[in-house]
Each structure stands twice: as structure tokens, then as C-alpha cells.
Amino acid sequence: MIISVASGKGGTGKTTIATNLACSYEGSVQFLDCDVEEPNAHLFIRPDIHDVETIRTPVPEVDMEKCTLCGKCSEICQFNAIAVLGETVLPFPELCHSCGGCMAVCPEKAITETGRELGIIERGSRKGMAFIHGKLRIGEAMAPPLIRKVRENIRPDVLTIIDAPPGTSCPVIASMKGADFVLLVTEPTPFGLYDLKLALGAVKLLGIPCGLVINRSDIGDDHVRAYAEAEKVPVLMEITFARKIAEAYSRGEMPVETDDHWKAMFRELYSRIAAIVQTPIEKTG
């Protein structure tokens, strides 16, 4: 089973929920941090990293001996990533989406592919939990291809917990697609509610069952709960604000490791999710 933990708004406690959920699970579990722009889960899970892989995406390279300056490559490119300038053809690798169109269209077979570095993937483990995360290279704009690479590590035979990036655009979709369940983490404030509506829109578009965790449930107002009820999204867990927890979080500590009450809470959260995934439900929206 794949559970993707997401939130429209950043800073709602998504990583806390994802890491504690994974660490309280009894059985084989793998953790994928797909928040490749700002990966944080490793600061809590503290895995031993076994291997590091540099991830590249193909971009064109032009052999000017063969090129006749026909301009077909720049004509097909939708991203202005290759241009004929005077007597030469100039690729702009940082704009390239790696579609391969220029290479396929070139009548002279003058184009081959080389790589642009997207970032790295690190694999490790902790106490039997497999850990994988991607780190986007600073200056690299495109997160989705790196996220897809991280996701290639999913093993179908174990529970997979994905920490998705915040927001609702392409990187989030790349992290939620194909999941069996999306756990949305929010807080009961106007920002939390507004961003939750967007996130829920994305989940519905993908047709994945979902549930809600309301963090810092005693700050703010009641609109998030009313909205969840109206949309028939089950609230699976509420966590009240406690300064102690905020402080533990700031030190990179996971409550399930030291507190049996928390461990029980997160196991309960998992059982609720498993029950929803196992009962066939009608798609909403």
C-alpha cells in the first residue's frame, strides 16, 4: 500500500505526521521523501545512508559537423530550449524538458543526448525501515523528473509512506499519483482552509481516497471541520497544540519514539487508513 502525506499549505506538520506514521508501523515499511526542494524527513528519521546516486535528465548535444542548420529542432521544441543562431545550434539545457523531440526530428542525426544534473538520490535504512530521498540541485528548476526517479524505488510488497511537497502544482501531483491513499495535513486557520480546498481539488482530480489530520486543532476556528464534513472527508486524527511538541520537533525528535501514547495514536491512524483502503468506496467529485 502507498500512502502519500500531503498538505496544500507548508508548515502544517506534514513531515511530522509522515515520519511518525512510518516509525510506529510494525512490519516492513519504506519511506520516500519526495519533497525534493526541501527534504527534511532525514533530520527526524536519521537513517544510515548506504548509497548516493547522481540523477541526470537527457538534454541535446549537437554535432556541428553533421548539422545543416535546417532549424527543424528549434521548430519542434516547445520550450525554447534549442535555437539556431547564425552558424551554430545552441541548446539551453536548463530549459529542456527532455522530450527527445529535437533528436527524433533531426534529419541529419546530428543530435545525441548528454545529461543535465537534477540532483541526487540517497538510499539508506534505519531499524529495518528503508529510506529514500531526493535532493534537488540548487539552481535546478524542475522537481518532477527527480520525484519520478525517487518513486521508481517503490516496492509493491511493503508499506510505502511518501512525504509529498507542499502546494498543488506539478511536483505535488507527481508525488500523489498512483497512491492508494492521500493523507492531507492541515491546520484550522483561514490559510489552512484555503490551501486544503486546493489540495483536495488535486486529490479528487486523481480520484484517490483521502482523509484529514488536523494539526494544532485548538488554535484558529471551526471552518476546517465544517468543510471536511460538507465534503465528506473523514477526519482521522486531531492533534492539539503543545509547546512541548513544537520544541521536540525543532530538535528533530519524533514523539512516537519516546512516548507510547503517541505510538498508539499513530497505529490507530494507520488502522483507520487501512480500513478505508480495504473497503471499496465510491469516488466522490
Binding site: 496544500g8 499549505k9 507548508g10 508548515g11 502544517t12 513531515t15 526542494e37 526541501e38 527534511n40 533530520l43 519542434i76 516547445q78 520550450f79 524538458h97 527532455s98 522530450c99 527527445g100 523531440g101 527524433a104 526530428v105 534537488l136 540548487i138 539552481g139 535546478e140 528548476a141 524542475m142 522537481a143 511537497p165 507542499p166 502546494g167 498543488t168 502544482s169 506539478c170 511536483p171 501531483i173 499519483k177 486557520t189 483561514p190 490559510f191 484555503y194 490551501d195 486546493l198 481539488g201 488535486a202 482530480l205 486523481l206 488554535i219 484558529g220 476556528d221 509547546r243 513544537a246 520544541e247 520537533y249 525543532s250 530538535r251 528533530g252
Partner: protein
């Protein structure tokens, strides 16, 4: 004209609440919400929309089943697995590269332009504002960020205003990169935690790569003073000006729930004093930069 972009790397550090508070202190400015993916500033500033435009960018392929002979060439060429066995394009996976459209021997594929959001120029009680709404699951947020910053600048020029105050997106990817080019300075709002330090380092590297002078302030400092000091130490090493510390203050959330800025809600809390002093320092620095520039 100057532009200050407020960013955070990590989401949820209080960036938007802080920017709204600055909006009630700064003079002669245009506001710009460049966090187009989860735009929240309007929830406090309640903009009256004066101009509304479609944002069009990128294309999506569409196969006409009547003309398609199922030759399979498009499925072979598509690198994004966007064309299913039934020869239907999955619009979420489609990257908009147009390779199938270009090569289809039957001309069975259309490639229409996407409308992926809306952008607005509005008035607020603190001055004009440029903002946008990106459709769900849409791409090209970087282009939309560039567009609304441009609109904000044009509006400022027209009205003779000299500051653009921009709420930047989280992360370090395409929308953030689009929010930094050509900015006068960035203010990083950091949070005193192990993840706050980690994210702040990454976004500071990005700003340095663009050669943009950076400043930092730390929100909820007292939650973990040790991590807070670690952030300040990192900043000093990297030539990032430390603007101040904001204590954890429930007023922030209370003001947000009421749809008010910190100063409209209660100008006298510990948190609001800290924010006022940070803004004075930031404004001073911007003035200094302006003076240096004109010399």
C-alpha cells in the same frame, strides 16, 4: 524602483503573515503575491479586483479517435507515458512537448493552448496588489510568477510608487527561481528548528547564486533559541544580514483568523514590536542600497 522578495524555503514559517504586517507599515508600495500555488495573502488584504485576465501557457495533446489508426508511433515517442493503450492522452501526465502532435502521420492529434489560471490587478486598503490563481495540477507556475511581478512593476511605475513587496513561493524550484531574478533584496523568514536551518541554507544558496543580497529574520525564536542562534551564525558566515528575532506569539494566528494584519489586530504585543523593529531595519537597508546605487 526596488523589490523586496520575502521567502522562506520551508513553508509555514509565517512569511505571509509577516508580509501582510509589512504592508501596513511600508509606504508607496505595490504588493505582489508570487506564491501562486497556494496564494494566501488575499485572505488578509481582501483585494478589490480591478482587472482580471486569463493566464494561458503551455499546450496539451488531444487525440481524435475518428482519425487515429492506432499505429502506435505516438506511444513510442512519448517520454512521459501520457498516452494510454486506448490512445487517450492523460492530461495530467502530458508535458506539452508536442512530439506526438508533430509526428502523427494521420494528423489525428490536436495541441490546443491551455488556460491554466487567472491573474489580477487589484486595490487593497494598503495599496495596489498583483496576484493570481493557478489552476489545480497546472504547470508553468514560474511563468505566472514572472508575469505578475511584471504587472506589479508596471502598476508601480504608473502610480509613481517606489517599492514592490513580494510574497515569494516556498521551496527552491521553478517558482522561487522565477521570483528572484532582478530582485533588489530577499528577506528570508526562518524557523528555529533543525529543518528550518536546513531549508534556510538551501534557499540562501539559491539567492547567493543570483547575487541577490539576503537578509534573515527568525520567527518563533524562543521555541528553540539554540537552533535560532545556529541560523544567525550561519547567516553571519555567509554575509546575510540578521534583522531580528520574533518571539512565538499567538497574536499571529488570531490576527489571521480575523482577516487582519498584526498591527490592525493588536499593535502592542511582543510579536508586533519585534516585527516593527525588523521592518525599520529592512527599510533602512533598502534605503542604503538605493543611495549606493545612485552614487
Amino acid at each position: 524602483m526596488q523589490e523586496l522578495v520575502v521567502i522562506s524555503g520551508k513553508g509555514g514559517t509565517g512569511k505571509t503573515t509577516l508580509l501582510a504586517a509589512f504592508a501596513s507599515l511600508a509606504h508607496n508600495k505595490v504588493l505582489c503575491d508570487a506564491d501562486v500555488d497556494a496564494a494566501d495573502l488575499h485572505l488578509i488584504l481582501d483585494p478589490k479586483i480591478r482587472q482580471r485576465h486569463d493566464f494561458q501557457s503551455g499546450h496539451t495533446a488531444e487525440i481524435n479517435p475518428e482519425a487515429c489508426t492506432r499505429c502506435g508511433l505516438c506511444r513510442e515517442l512519448c517520454r512521459f507515458d501520457a498516452i494510454g493503450e486506448n490512445f487517450q492522452v492523460d492530461p495530467i501526465s502530458c508535458e506539452g512537448c508536442g512530439v506526438c502532435y508533430y509526428f502523427c502521420p494521420e494528423n489525428a492529434i490536436a495541441f490546443p493552448l491551455n488556460t491554466c489560471g487567472e491573474w489580477y490587478v487589484s486595490d487593497t486598503r494598503f495599496g495596489p496588489m498583483a496576484h493570481a490563481r493557478l489552476g489545480i495540477a497546472e504547470e508553468n507556475s514560474g511563468k505566472l510568477v514572472t508575469l505578475i511581478r511584471q504587472q506589479g512593476k508596471e502598476r508601480a511605475q504608473r502610480d509613481g510608487l517606489d517599492l514592490l513587496l513580494t510574497d515569494g513561493p516556498p521551496g527552491v524550484g521553478c517558482p522561487v527561481i522565477a521570483s528572484l531574478g532582478g530582485a533588489t533584496a530577499v528577506l528570508i523568514v526562518a524557523e528555529p528548528s533543525v529543518s528550518g536551518l536546513h531549508d534556510m541554507e538551501r534557499v540562501a544558496q539559491l539567492a547567493a547564486g543570483f547575487n541577490i543580497p539576503a537578509m534573515v529574520c527568525i520567527n518563533k525564536f524562543d521555541i528553540n533559541p539554540e537552533q535560532g542562534k545556529a541560523i544567525e551564525a550561519y547567516a553571519e558566515k555567509k554575509n546575510i544580514a540578521v534583522m531580528g528575532r520574533i518571539p512565538f506569539d499567538p497574536m499571529f494566528t488570531k490576527a489571521m483568523v480575523m482577516g487582519k494584519t498584526l498591527f490592525e489586530y493588536n499593535g502592542r504585543s511582543e510579536g508586533s514590536d519585534a516585527v516593527r523593529s525588523i521592518w525599520e531595519k529592512v527599510a533602512q537597508r533598502l534605503d542604503d542600497m538605493e543611495r549606493k546605487n545612485s552614487q
